[in-house]
C-alpha cells in the first residue's frame, strides 16, 4: 500500500532544488563556452551546439527520471555487450582527433562511446552486486574486476586515459560500498586515488624534465605534443590571473588570445576562473558540492541495494570527473583528457551526465517512505 502511494509522487521541493542546481551549472558552462569560442565552430557556434546537446540531455534526463531503474538494470549486461562492440568498432572505424580514436561518426554527428560506457558500467556493477549476496574475494572483487577489464582495456587502447581512470574509480567506489574485508585498506585506496593530485604535485615536482616526459609519453603519448608543459602552464596562468574578481566576460586574455588551447572543452574551468575569479570559482564549487550532497542523500535513502549502488556509482563518477578536471587545470595533476561535467563542451559527455542525473532522481522517486 505504502509502496504504491509513494511511488508515483510528482515533483517536490527536493527535485526542484536538484534540477535548479543542474541548470545553474549548465548555464555557467554555456556562458563560458560562449565567451571563449563565440567566433568558432563555423555556421553553428559551439555554444549553440552545446544548447542543442543540453536539450537532448534534458530529454535523456526526463526519460531516465520517468523510467524504473529495476527495469533498466535488467538490460545491464546486453547494454554492456553492445557498448563493448562499439568500443571495438571505434578502434577500427572511429574518427581520429588529436591522435586518439574515440569518436564514431553518424552522418554529420560524432559520438564518443566511452562516455556512455561509464554509465553502463555503473548499471552493470550495481546489478551484479544486488542480484545475489556476493561472498568472498572471488565474488566481491575478482569477478566484477573481470567485468570491468575489457571495457577498460578498450578505452585505454584509444587512448583515453581520462575515461579509463573514471572506469577504475567507479569500480573502486562501488566495491567499497558493498564492502571488502579490509575496509580500512579500501578506503585508503579510494582516497589515495582522490588525493593523488596532491601527492602528485610533490612527487612529480621532484622529477627531472626528461623523466616526466618519459612517463607522460608512456601514459598518454598524444596529449601534449609540445611536451614542454605549455598547456599546463597556460592553464595555471589563466586561473591565477583571474585573482579575486576575475577579468570579466570576454576579458580573459589567456583564453581569448588562444594561449590556452581547448578553452571550450577540457580547459573550460580555466576560462571560467580567469573571467570570474576566485569568487566565481567558489560559487561553481559550491554548486557542485551541493549537487553531490543531494545525490548522496538519494543514495542513503534508496529503497534497495540496487538503487543505493546505482546512486553511489553515479556520484563517484561525477565526483571523480569534477575533482580530476579542476585538479588538472589547476596544475595539480598531469593533463588527462577529462571534461568538467555539465560545463565542458561536448555532446556525448553532456547527454551522458544528464541521463545519469535523471537516473539518480529516479532512484529517489522509487524509494520507500519507510526510510524516512
Amino acid at each position: 500500500m505504502i509502496d504504491r502511494l509513494t511511488e508515483h509522487r510528482g515533483l517536490d521541493s527536493f527535485d526542484i532544488r536538484y534540477v535548479a542546481l543542474i541548470l545553474a551549472i549548465l548555464a555557467i558552462g554555456v556562458m563560458s563556452i560562449y565567451s571563449v569560442a563565440h567566433g568558432q565552430g563555423g555556421t553553428a557556434p559551439y555554444y549553440l551546439k552545446q544548447l542543442i546537446w543540453i536539450g537532448l540531455g534534458a530529454a535523456a534526463f526526463l526519460v531516465m527520471w520517468a523510467s524504473d531503474y529495476h527495469h533498466l538494470a535488467r538490460f545491464a549486461y546486453p547494454a554492456y555487450a553492445f557498448i563493448l562492440l562499439m568500443l571495438v568498432f571505434v578502434l577500427f572505424e572511429g574518427r581520429t582527433s588529436k591522435g586518439a580514436q574515440r569518436w564514431i561518426a553518424l552522418g554529420p554527428l560524432t559520438f564518443q562511446p566511452s562516455e556512455f560506457a561509464k554509465l553502463i558500467l555503473v548499471l552493470v556493477l550495481a546489478h551484479y552486486y544486488s542480484k545475489a549476496p556476493r561472498v568472498g574475494w572471488l565474488q566481491r572483487v575478482i569477478v566484477p574486476g573481470l567485468l570491468v577489464l575489457p571495457g577498460l582495456l578498450l578505452i585505454l587502447k584509444q587512448p583515453d586515459l581520462g575515461s579509463g581512470l573514471s572506469f577504475v574509480a567507479v569500480y573502486a567506489a562501488m566495491l567499497l560500498m558493498v564492502g571488502v574485508r579490509s575496509q580500512a585498506l579500501g578506503f585508503i585506496l579510494l582516497f589515495s586515488i582522490m588525493l593523488f593530485p596532491f601527492a602528485w604535485e610533490g612527487m612529480w615536482g621532484s622529477l627531472h624534465d626528461y623523466q616526466r616526459q618519459r612517463i607522460m609519453a608512456f601514459v598518454d603519448p598524444d596529449y601534449d605534443p609540445a611536451g614542454k608543459g605549455y598547456h599546463a602552464l597556460q592553464s595555471k596562468i589563466a586561473i591565477g590571473s583571474g585573482e579575486l574578481l576575475g577579468k570579466g566576460l570576454y576579458g580573459g586574455t589567456q583564453s581569448q588570445l588562444k594561449f590556452l588551447p581547448e578553452g571550450h572543452t577540457d580547459f573550460v574551468f580555466a576560462v571560467f576562473a580567469e573571467e570570474w575569479g576566485f569568487l566565481g570559482v567558489l560559487v561553481l564549487l559550491t554548486l557542485f558540492v551541493a549537487l553531490i550532497w543531494l545525490s548522496l542523500e538519494i543514495a542513503s535513502k534508496a529503497k534497495d541495494q540496487l538503487g543505493a549502488l546505482l546512486a553511489v556509482g553515479i556520484v563517484a563518477m561525477l565526483c571523480f570527473c569534477v575533482v580530476v578536471n579542476i585538479g588538472m587545470t589547476a596544475g595539480m595533476f598531469p593533463i588527462v583528457g577529462i571534461p568538467l561535467p555539465l560545463v565542458s563542451y561536448g555532446g556525448s559527455a553532456t547527454i551522458m551526465t544528464m541521463a545519469s542525473l535523471g537516473l539518480l532522481l529516479n532512484v529517489k522517486r522509487k524509494r520507500l517512505s519507510l526510510f524516512y
Binding site: F191, A238, E243, K258, L285, V289
Partner: protein, 624 residues
C-alpha cells in the same frame, strides 16, 4: 560469524556508515581544491596576472607546403619556392615610428604602407605580416639588425611558383590570400586570415586536396621582444600533388600556334576524356597574379579588352557555325529524315516564307547527298533537313552530344553554352519559337552557342563511335601523408544511341573534308585527319570582302578534327576569334597540333602495343 552470514539487511546498515565516510572524504578533497585555487588566484594571483599581461609566448602559424602540380609525364608545372616574410608583433615593439624609420632606411620600404599595416585592426600579441617575398639579401639584413629591432621576425614561407610562366595559365590558375567572403564559407572552415588558397583553375577546383594543414609553433620571447626559443606544437601537413592529363609540350605548341591572336585550342584523348592540351589566348602570368597585386595592377588586368583571365576554352561561348553540321548529320540519319543516298538540290539559297536563306556558295552546290553536304559544307542541305526535323529533334541530338550543358571538367565557372529548343525559348525569353529560327540553328547560328571544350568532346565522341567520356584534367593525386598515388579512373558519360554505320558514314565524310573538301589546309602527310570547318558569325550583316571589315566584326574561325581516322587517338577543336573562315585560319592549327602529338607519342601498331603492355598514348607513364 557475522561476516559470512551476509544478509542484505546488515549490508544495508553498513552502507550508511560508509556513505558518511565518503562525505567526509569528499569534503576534504573539495577543501583541498579550494585551497589550491585560493593559492593560485589570491596568494599568487598578482604574479600570474603579471604573467598573463606580459605573456611572452606567441603562437605562430606554420603554413603547410602546397601540393605540387605535374603534367602527364611528370614535368613540374607548379611548385613552391622559399620566400622570406617579415612579421612584426606590436606588443614587443618599443617605438613604432622608430621601427618604421629603421625599416625604411634598411630596405627602402614605403613608410606609409608599413604604417598602414601596423595600425590595421588586429591583436597586438599576434605577429602580423608586413612584407612578403623579400629577397635573401633583405632578409639577411634584417636578421643582422634583429637586436636593434625587437618584435621583428623573419619567417621562411613558401611562395607558389609556376616555372612555365604563362604556359597553361588558365588550367593551373593561381593562388591568393583567402578573401573575407571565402572565410565565411564552410569549405574554408580550417583556414584563417592570411591563408593561401587557389583562386582559379585547378588550383581552385582541387584546393581542398592541395592546401594541406597548417601547423603551429610556440615562440617564447624575452622581455625585450627577442625570440628566445621556439617549439613546434603541431607540424604542418603538406598538401597532395596533382598529376594533370595535359602534355606540357603539346600545350606549348598549341599556345604558340595561337600566338598573339585571340582564341582557344582544345585537344583531348577520345578514349579517356583526358585533356592533352587546352590553350586560351591571350593569357596571363600566374606568378604575377599569385602575388599581392596593387589595386592599379588588378584594374589593368580586369579591364584588358582581350579579357586575359577568361579561359576561352571552357568559358568562351560561340556559335558553332558549320561544325554543328556533325550532330545534325547524325540526327538526319538516325531519324531517317535522310538516307545516305538521297539528295537535295542546292541553287545557292533556301526560300522560307518571305525570306531567302543564302548558301555560303552563291552559285550553289547542285545535287548533294549527305556525304557531299558535309564535305563541301552545303548550307541548303542542312536548312532542308533542319526544317524537316524541327528544332526539338535537333536539340535532343545536340544534348546527347553534350551541347547546352557543362562538360563537368574540373575547372571553376565552366559555361554551358545554349542548345535551344521550343521549351528553352519559352523559359528563357518567354516567347514562342519561330520556324525561321530552326533554319539558322540548322547551320549552327542563331541561338546555338558552344564552348571549344564541348566541340572537342563532341568530335571525340563521333571519332569514338558514340562512346564518350567526361573531359578531365587530373589523372592522379599523390597523397603526401600515405605516399599513395591514387589514379583517378576515366569517367564514362554513356554512349550515343546511334548505329555504327551512321558513325562510319560521317567519319568518311569528315575525312574527305580534309582530303578534298573545305579543309584541305589540314591535310597531313603524316597522319590521316578527319574534320569539319565552321564560321561563327559575329555581325549579322556583312558587306564586301572580309578585309574591309574592322577586325572586331570579322567572323570566328572554327575547326574540329580527329586523327588518325582509322583509330582515333586525339580530338581537337580550334577556335580563332575574328580570323574569318575555318578552313583557312583554323584548320592549319589543328593539323599542327595533331602532327605534334603524333611525333611526341610514337604510334605502335595495335598488335605489338598489346604485347608490350599497352604503350599507347592513353597509357603513357608519368615518370618519363
Amino acid at each position: 560469524m557475522m561476516m559470512t552470514a551476509h544478509s542484505s539487511e546488515s549490508e544495508f546498515g553498513d552502507l550508511h556508515r560508509r556513505l558518511f565516510i565518503l562525505r567526509v572524504g569528499l569534503l576534504l578533497v573539495v577543501v583541498l581544491l579550494g585551497l589550491r585555487l585560493w593559492h593560485l588566484q589570491i596568494r599568487e594571483g598578482p604574479y600570474y596576472r603579471d604573467l598573463s599581461e606580459n605573456n611572452r609566448t606567441r603562437l605562430v602559424l606554420l603554413e603547410p607546403a602546397r601540393g605540387l602540380i605535374y603534367d602527364r609525364h611528370g614535368v613540374l608545372l607548379a611548385n613552391n619556392v622559399p620566400s622570406f616574410s617579415l612579421y612584426v608583433t606590436l606588443e614587443d615593439v618599443k617605438d613604432r615610428e622608430v621601427l618604421i624609420q629603421q625599416l625604411t632606411d634598411l630596405l627602402g620600404f614605403d613608410p606609409a604602407l608599413v604604417r598602414k599595416k601596423m595600425t590595421a585592426k588586429g591583436s597586438k600579441l599576434l605577429p602580423r605580416k608586413i612584407k612578403d617575398r623579400m629577397t635573401l639579401r633583405d632578409a639577411t639584413l634584417i636578421e643582422s639588425h634583429r637586436l636593434d629591432m625587437p618584435g621583428v621576425m623573419i619567417q621562411v614561407e613558401s611562395q607558389r611558383n609556376y616555372p612555365g610562366g604563362v604556359t597553361a595559365a588558365h588550367l593551373l590558375g593561381y593562388v591568393g590570400e583567402i578573401s573575407a567572403d571565402q572565410l565565411e564559407k564552410p569549405e574554408f572552415i580550417d583556414l584563417h586570415q592570411g591563408s593561401i588558397v587557389g583562386q582559379y583553375g585547378v588550383e581552385k577546383s582541387y584546393d581542398r586536396h592541395m592546401r594541406g594543414m597548417a601547423g603551429q609553433k610556440s615562440v617564447e620571447v624575452d622581455a625585450l621582444g627577442h625570440e628566445k626559443k621556439a617549439s613546434v606544437v603541431e607540424r604542418p601537413q603538406a598538401g597532395n600533388d596533382l598529376y594533370l592529363t595535359i602534355d606540357v609540350r603539346l600545350q606549348k605548341v598549341a599556345e604558340d600556334l595561337l600566338g598573339e591572336e585571340q582564341g582557344a585550342i582544345v585537344a583531348l584523348d577520345p578514349n579517356s576524356g583526358d585533356i592533352l592540351a587546352m590553350a586560351s589566348r591571350p593569357g596571363f602570368d600566374p606568378n604575377v597574379l599569385s602575388r599581392e597585386l596593387t589595386a592599379k595592377q588588378w584594374v589593368e588586368i580586369v579591364q584588358d579588352e582581350g579579357r586575359p583571365l577568361n579561359n576561352r576554352a571552357s568559358q568562351g561561348q560561340y556559335p558553332p557555325g558549320s561544325t554543328f553540321k556533325i550532330p545534325m548529320a547524325v540526327a538526319a540519319l538516325e531519324t531517317k529524315t535522310m538516307s545516305p543516298a538521297s539528295t537535295v538540290f542546292c541553287n545557292g539559297g533556301y526560300q522560307f516564307g518571305k525570306r531567302l536563306y543564302h548558301d555560303w556558295k552563291v552559285s550553289g552546290h547542285g545535287y548533294v547527298d549527305l556525304h557531299n553536304a558535309l564535305v563541301h559544307s552545303c548550307d541548303v542541305y542542312f536548312y532542308t533537313i533542319g526544317q524537316r526535323m524541327g528544332i526539338d529533334v535537333m536539340a535532343e541530338f545536340g544534348k546527347d552530344f553534350g551541347l547546352g550543358k557543362a562538360t563537368g571538367v574540373e575547372l571553376p565557372s565552366e559555361r554551358s553554352g545554349i542548345m535551344p529548343s521550343t521549351a528553352w525559348k519559352q523559359k528563357a525569353k518567354n516567347e514562342q519559337w519561330l520556324p525561321g529560327e530552326t533554319i539558322s540553328a540548322a547551320i549552327g547560328q542563331g541561338y546555338v552557342t558552344v564552348t571549344p571544350l564541348q566541340m572537342a568532346s563532341l568530335v571525340g565522341t563521333v571519332a569514338n563511335d558514340g562512346v564518350s567520356y567526361r573531359p578531365r584534367l587530373v589523372q592522379a593525386v599523390m597523397d603526401r601523408t600515405s605516399g599513395n598515388l591514387q589514379e583517378l579512373p576515366a569517367v564514362p558519360r554513356g554512349k550515343i544511341n546511334a548505329k555504327p554505320e551512321t558513325f562510319r558514314i560521317i567519319k568518311d565524310a569528315l575525312a574527305d573534308v580534309v582530303t578534298k573538301g573545305t579543309a584541305t589546309k589540314a591535310k597531313s602527310s603524316m597522319v590521316t585527319i578527319g574534320g569539319k570547318t565552321g564560321t561563327a558569325q559575329v555581325a549579322a550583316l556583312r558587306t564586301g570582302p572580309e578585309e574591309n571589315i574592322p577586325k572586331k566584326f570579322r567572323d570566328h574561325a572554327w575547326f574540329v578534327a580527329f586523327a588518325p581516322v582509322e583509330s582515333p587517338k586525339i580530338a581537337v577543336a580550334v577556335l580563332a576569334e575574328h580570323m574569318g573562315h575555318g578552313g583557312a585560319a583554323a584548320a592549319p592549327l589543328a593539323k599542327e597540333v595533331i602532327e605534334t602529338y603524333m611525333k611526341l607519342t610514337p604510334q605502335v601498331p595495335a598488335v605489338t602495343s598489346d604485347l608490350s603492355g599497352g604503350n599507347g598514348p592513353a597509357h603513357s607513364s608519368k615518370d618519363s
